[in-house]
Subunit: 466 residues, 2 copies
């Protein structure tokens, strides 16, 4: 153990209870990775925070002694945000898991960063309220990570992403200063919106210790519709037809022909062979509204040439239709030894162009690239499947080709997963040198010693060493 680390740990040890500071290698090893393909690296120590004061003590000690800190909530990230790639301390938030308040009158929830998202959904829905963001990992991901990564999910077309639901946050800066950012109200223009800056900054600017989130009344009713279509162009026409009717579905999930082939044998209903694309549409609203919109949406999608439109109004039936979408991840994993998934975004009108680019890249590099995702917001999950480890460099070349195509279509490299470690080498494909430089200046302002979540967003070679 380096002397700077041991000095920091002994300072932290005086501030927290003995069971909160852990250097046991087995425990440290369990904090070495998240749900990404980033090479695991165990931290030198783990501190399990129980209060803002613990976080202040850790940050102050680590800034003083120049020790790296990687904050971690659920550890379900997909780009390595919670992996302590340069060692040091993991600051773990599973012990701060209180829903401190759900206020019907004010339509807000106040949560600690370790609250698992699914638990928040249940708690607010039990009160007749609703929180929008719903990343697929909702049963295991935690709010701290959702805020750090600005998590989205299928419902983002109608309900937006985590930033849109964040009113205020308590954070601790790299040097251990606690700040109360934002507000408890939807409106509020008092000073700079630092909360909006910290959301999505991947734990590199400040550590989140509490958040005040916006809620809305829970939609009374939800209905689901699965359209089986002759091709992806029909999916584009269907989306445009809904827009024309003024209908904003909460989810608009697209499956391409490859992913449809994968789920065809696994689902409980027949998907005809001619179906080369599917669109899963979910509507919500008051009971009458939902029924009416379902009928109008169904008719419109039928009219643009759907092969079949399946409709579900209740829990069990709806789950049956979602099965096709839910089954995908498992089916993809079964279909090849290796899999990487990118979550690129293009403007909605460019979805067909992106799928054509995907076809060209898939053929050129001879890598299978099944694609599905959120047609409403242009956020597509492009998967790369291969069976021979030696193909990995080819896969990386294909990924870079995909990113170049996305940028050419005025898209962005990541819709939900963040840059983290995995996409850092590609940041300059999308952003100008000046813009990256400005972001580094902001990083240096918030964290002059570069101790907070090192190795993320900015490519390692360029990252300020501690």
């Amino acid at each position: 153990m380096s002397s700077t680390l041991s000095r920091a740990l002994s300072e932290i040890g005086r501030a927290v209870d003995s069971d909160q500071l852990i250097t046991d290698p087995d425990v440290c090893a369990s904090y070495a990775s998240d749900e990404s393909e980033v090479t695991p690296r165990p931290p030198d120590a783990v501190v399990r925070a129980r209060s803002e004061a613990d976080v202040v003590a850790v940050m102050a000690a680590c800034t003083r002694h120049g020790v790296f800190v990687t904050p971690r909530a659920g550890g379900t990230g997909r780009t390595g945000g919670a992996v302590p790639v340069q060692g040091g301390i993991v600051l773990a938030f599973e012990g701060m898991h209180e829903i401190q308040e759900i206020h019907r009158g004010d339509l807000v929830a106040v949560v600690q960063p370790g609250v698992v998202l699914g638990r928040l959904h249940e708690a607010v829905e039990a009160e007749g309220l609703f929180y929008g963001p719903d990343p697929n990992s909702l049963s295991t991901c935690a709010l701290g990570g959702n805020l750090a990564e600005n998590a989205g999910g299928p419902r983002a077309f109608k309900y937006g992403v985590t930033r849109d639901w964040t009113l205020g946050m308590d954070v601790v800066t790299a040097d251990g200063t606690p700040l109360r950012l934002g507000k408890r109200t939807v409106k509020g223009v008092t000073g700079y919106d630092l909360a909006a800056l910290v959301v999505g900054s991947e734990g590199t600017l400040a550590v989140i210790t509490r958040a005040t989130l916006k809620l809305i009344p829970k939609p009374e009713s939800v209905a689901t519709l699965l359209a089986l279509l002759p091709d992806v162009h029909a999916a584009g026409r269907a989306v445009n037809a809904l827009v024309k009717l003024g209908i904003v579905p909460r989810c608009l999930e697209l499956l391409d022909s490859y992913t449809l082939d994968l789920v065809r044998p696994a689902v409980a209903f027949a998907i005809p062979e001619q179906a080369r694309a599917a669109l899963l549409v979910e509507l919500d609203g008051s009971i009458g509204t939902c029924e009416l919109d379902l009928e109008r949406a169904g008719n419109a999608i039928q009219a643009i040439g759907a092969l079949e439109v399946l409709v579900a109004r209740h829990g069990g039936e709806r789950a049956r239709l979602w099965e096709a979408r839910r089954e995908l991840s498992r089916a993809l994993r079964r279909s090849a030894r290796f899999k990487l998934a990118e979550d690129v975004v293009v403007p909605k009108s460019q979805i067909p162009a992106l799928l054509e680019a995907r076809d060209r890249i898939s053929e050129r590099f001879a890598i299978a690239m099944p694609t599905y995702g959120h047609a409403g917001d242009g956020n597509l999950h492009v998967n790369f499947l291969w069976n021979d480890a030696s193909e990995e460099p080819t896969v990386h070349a294909a990924i870079e080709a995909l990113f170049r195509a996305v940028v050419a279509l005025e898209g962005t490299l990541s819709g939900e997963h963040g840059i983290g470690v995995l996409k850092a080498p590609y940041l300059a494909l999308e952003q100008s040198a000046q813009l990256i430089d400005w972001q580094k200046r902001i990083k240096a302002l918030f964290d002059p010693k570069g101790i907070l979540n090192p190795g993320k967003i900015f490519a390692p070679a360029e990252h300020r060493a501690c």
Copy 2:
């Protein structure tokens, strides 16, 4: 003219056309004020920008020579954001008024900062699309100012504020560096969200030259309901009843008894004497939805004890009900020689408590304080009326007392108007010294010479001199 100013102007003169750089005192005088009570001060020169290149030239020259720059779009601000309080150059955007793109498929609009908001509304609605923010000044305010101030409006309860509709922005930094911030898609988590930071920064961090805004399908139908109520507590119960039904009106406007008395003689329908509060509810959605929600909302509000519920489904009838709200500003101005309006926000459940605090302050300082505003988001416009100029110090004491009450109720000083010049002395009532210090560090990072919109947000004494 100082030598630094003349050097800057001669540099700018080489970069722009001769009719763009104006030093004529009469023209300069027309840029001396906005729609606030801030003391007018003419700039030394005006530059009418026609392109990003013009803005780059102005900022580079002014940073080089240390000359103040105050950006100005519509000039309709309410806290002095566009007033050149320290002289220098006004950088005017009325010449950059193009709607460059309205894209149905992508649901985006691309606009220059001089576009008047009402014109954008008309243009997107002609395409069957919709842009949410609707500050009352919409027929004269421009997008550049909307973005700088993070403008809201009555529809914010359902549709949020300007930041929620901003996907990307082109900006020019104080030193003349053009940056492309954000994206063209709703999702996108590539790097820090500097666009979210610049929105609402009141022209103090960077100059906005273009924005990509989110659009949604235009709601098919709108209906309006005016509830006349026995007191403001009934208004609170009505709002809760709607939330319980899962109905999210796009507007929820509250009038207190004082403002109701003011409009009673001016409107075309009878407002009974027993009515001591009114709630104007506006619903939108597809035709069937809207009709259904209107009926349910009407029944619910009747059930909580409304004296009368008036309903309007069509343009003319709706305008008649809005008349009560629209008439207010004029009626208030007629009712006293002097008027100041604050736009405080409290959590929704604290609206009655704020109105009680208002009553105590009004009595203590003997100043009339009629109040109306957006009950859905807790943003209330508290007016101060007086007739004798010598009462002004009393009014300022009453304003400070109001701000203290708002902060004690976990509210915020400004919901829509920003801090500007007028609220700068009060910033420390709401925010900690550390938080203000962090904001100043960000200001110093973006604008090290302090030339960009000086004298705004931070109290003048503390503001970095150029």
